[in-house]
Symmetry: C2
Subunit: 203 residues, 2 copies
């Protein structure tokens, strides 16, 4: 049995667990963005994080778990941005203004880290459990928007959930597509047109 009490409780140079995890995730984000998922090897990630593979595997059991943690973090950030949308939606009452709010939030979720976003949400193999989570989150967003629609007399629909699904999905997928196809494109012009499209659909 090793004599644990002879070890110092803590040495300043040692990384605390969460710090190391953060460093790894941050490195993985850069590596995946640059190399894609399969070429984004654990060795490269470790190197980018300034540690060795051995150390890396002390904080994550395998490569997949790094991906999952990264997606989770990414999604959490996006969810937070969308949640803060509700606060703002209280002040904005015009349909046009509210749509603009949604569009802005979604664009914000995409504008940086485009390539990472692609790798995370298209290329990488996501475990079914993670997919279920994403699906659930999307459902919540749709339901929230549906609720807004129901209380807005200027929107005519016979199925608020369906209408909300189209509105949310159109904003997400068009933004994704635009940003992927034209990374240097004119985001302002795009936003205006997208708002126009959604408003036209809703009224």
């Amino acid at each position: 049995m090793p004599t644990r009490q002879l070890q110092p409780r803590k040495t300043p140079r040692q990384l605390r667990g969460w710090e190391a995890q953060e460093r790894i995730l941050e490195a993985a984000a850069r590596v995946f963005a640059e190399w894609g998922y399969s070429a984004g090897t654990t060795n490269r990630i470790a190197e980018a994080a300034g540690m060795s593979v051995g150390s890396l595997y002390q904080y994550f059991p395998n490569k997949d778990s790094i991906l999952v943690a990264l997606v989770r973090r990414h999604v959490d950030e996006g969810a937070a941005r969308l949640a803060s949308l509700w606060a703002d939606a209280q002040d904005v009452t015009s349909l046009d203004g509210r749509v603009r709010l949604l569009v802005d939030a979604v664009i914000a979720n995409h504008r940086d880290e485009i390539r990472l976003h692609q790798v995370l949400f298209e290329e990488a193999p996501r475990p079914p459990e993670l997919l279920a989570d994403l699906h659930r989150l999307e459902g919540e967003l749709v339901e929230a928007v549906a609720q807004l629609i129901r209380t807005d007399p200027s929107v005519r629909t016979d199925d608020a959930t369906r209408t909300a699904w189209f509105a949310v999905t159109v904003v997400e997928s068009l933004t994704h597509r635009y940003v992927s196809s034209y990374p240097k494109g004119d985001l302002d012009a795009f936003r205006e047109e997208l708002v126009k499209l959604v408003v036209a659909y809703l009224t």
Copy 2:
């Protein structure tokens, strides 16, 4: 120097080159759809095609070339379907009818082989040269639709190309998304709503 003239010109059991290629592509389509790109190994493809890896490599220089050929074939089919759309567009003069034509063609491009479509266009690493081709093809479709828009007095726009891009992209990406998320969904209802959305945007 081998004595070629002693070989029979052709033996019935031998596959002609294009037949073998077809068999391989057809097998690859099934394997990729079932296993995804990375797990869709050349060995599995060969097995599904009823031949050995060695034979497979006689018809394709590497795995990537199989993928490229598959995407090309897929895209050609889609392009053909969209091209035949022009013939029909002569007879249909209402905006609603024309949008429906476009939507139907795009849905047809997606309704079968959903999973293959995903693998081909999302998961698999596509060489830049192929991406350029796809981009060019999309540009052509957009320009064709823009031309239709310009001659249709019921569509109000100050930039036909931009409007066409939104119309085409919205149909493609929403269909893709819907079919991926709800493989068993009600396609008819979806189509109706999508047509409504596009028509609302265009008028």
